[in-house]
């Protein structure tokens, strides 16, 4: 902290307004203000504005907390969302298997590959990394083209004994281009790629992930926006060069489609 005898500065005046000076320093600053009426008037104005602001906003802290903001209710809402995803696991297993069937391996693509128990941060960076790597790919953006989808999906559905589908995003102008498998630690991740008429590409990334369940989370890295969520042992990420408002309904549709 400033020495008691040091010259008075703007920081002292601010700290005086905010009541953050030591008693000795406060005395020194007040003595200085007695000889500088302009500065003293400014301090007085700042103080009264701060008090005014507090007074005008005081009612808000006195209000009872609305029930929707109770932590217990926020948790219930988050769980309800997860429960509606009961069948997402089956779809996710199939998507990972879809990748596995392709058998394409590129260890360096998925970054550090912390794998199954990675943090959400690592999961997102792998998903965004995969998006960035393949979204610029002209010749081979996908490993298995959408034309082969029916064949693959039928085969996979038979193998796991559950019907499977790739999320239908045509309502948002996105058509399925195809998919590929990526390494993810000890396991594999599946990536489905979509594009729209403007050439915007969007990826749906799924992999096994033991992290705790989460609600939708939005992250932005440069122009790339990503919604992620973890649910029952799987992590999901939807990425595109799109803003939050455009991406959110798409992520919700993926959520519903993989859970339906």
């Amino acid at each position: 902290m400033t020495m008691p005898g040091a010259p008075v500065g703007d920081d002292d005046l601010a700290a005086l307004v905010d009541g953050r000076l030591t008693p000795e320093r406060r005395a020194a600053v007040e003595a200085w203000l007695a000889e500088h009426p302009d500065a003293a008037a400014r301090v007085e104005a700042d103080r009264s504005q701060r008090d005014d602001l507090r007074a005008r906003l005081a009612f808000k802290v006195e209000e009872p907390i609305p029930s929707r903001l109770r932590i217990a209710n926020i948790r219930v809402a988050r769980r309800a969302r997860s429960l509606s995803q009961l069948r997402a696991v089956a779809a996710a297993v199939a998507l990972v298997a879809l990748g596995g069937a392709g058998g394409w391996v590129a260890k360096d693509v998925a970054g550090t590959g912390q794998g199954a128990s990675s943090s959400p941060v690592a999961f997102v960076s792998d998903a965004v990394g995969a998006y960035r790597t393949f979204v610029v790919e002209i010749a081979h953006p996908v490993e298995v083209r959408a034309g082969d989808e029916a064949h693959l999906i039928t085969w996979l559905s038979k193998r796991i004994g559950k019907p499977l589908k790739a999320p239908d995003l045509t309502g948002f102008g996105f058509r399925l281009m195809g998919g590929r498998v990526l390494p993810a630690g000890a396991g594999a991740a599946a990536m489905l790629m979509y594009d729209d008429d403007a050439g915007t590409r969007l990826t749906v990334y799924v992999r096994a992930d033991k992290g705790a369940e989460t609600a939708f989370q939005f992250m932005r890295e440069g122009e790339v926006g990503t919604f992620t969520w973890l649910d029952r042992g799987f992590g999901f990420a939807v990425s595109a060069k799109a803003d939050r408002d455009r991406l959110l309904p798409i992520a919700e549709a993926v959520y519903k489609d993989l859970g339906a």
């Binding site: 601010a14 905010d18 929707r68 988050r78």
Partner: protein, 167 residues
């Protein structure tokens, strides 16, 4: 007892006050608080246990608010958030005058509002405020000083304008 609930709930009134001062709309403010709490719960395990919970929460809340302003601004059909556009319509408006500090606050850019509120109303230390804004303390201090200068000017104009009108 739920640890997260026990620690978070006592801070909700403050989160609501800051949200209301920033959005100036009760519903949007509670939406912002709800998003903040959801984000906090989803990252509960990732928070630093020795860290300052209040500063962490305000940082989440402030970042959510800032990104929602950006989203709104990117959409051409929506009106610009005048207060966040220096030299924009609000600043040039002839009636740029405020009769009290809360009204004056609406005319300041987001970062000025945030320092005034966190320091002046929420009683965060300069260091905590610096953590919320992810800035050095010195930058926070100079921002606070500029924000207060602008606030004084707005209220000054408001007072003289008001007097002129009643005469």
């Amino acid at each position: 007892m739920d640890e997260a609930a026990a620690l978070l709930e006592p801070l909700i009134p403050q989160l609501r006050r800051y949200a209301y001062a920033m959005t100036r709309d009760h519903e949007s403010a509670d939406d912002l608080v709800q998003d903040t709490l959801e984000r906090a719960l989803s990252r509960w395990a990732l928070r630093r246990r020795d860290g300052d919970l209040r500063a962490w929460l305000f940082a989440i809340e402030r970042n959510l608010h800032v990104s929602s302003i950006r989203t709104r601004r990117r959409r051409p059909e929506s009106a610009l958030d005048a207060a966040d556009e220096p030299g924009g319509p609000a600043t040039q408006e002839a009636g740029l005058a405020a009769r009290d500090a809360l009204e004056a606050l609406d005319h300041l850019p987001e970062d000025h509002r945030t320092v005034l509120l966190l320091v002046g109303v929420e009683d965060l230390t300069y260091e905590e405020t610096a953590r919320v804004l992810d800035l050095p303390v010195g930058t926070v201090m100079s921002r606070l000083s500029r924000a207060r200068t602008r606030l004084r000017a707005l209220i000054e104009t408001g007072r003289s304008g008001y007097l002129r009108r009643v005469k």
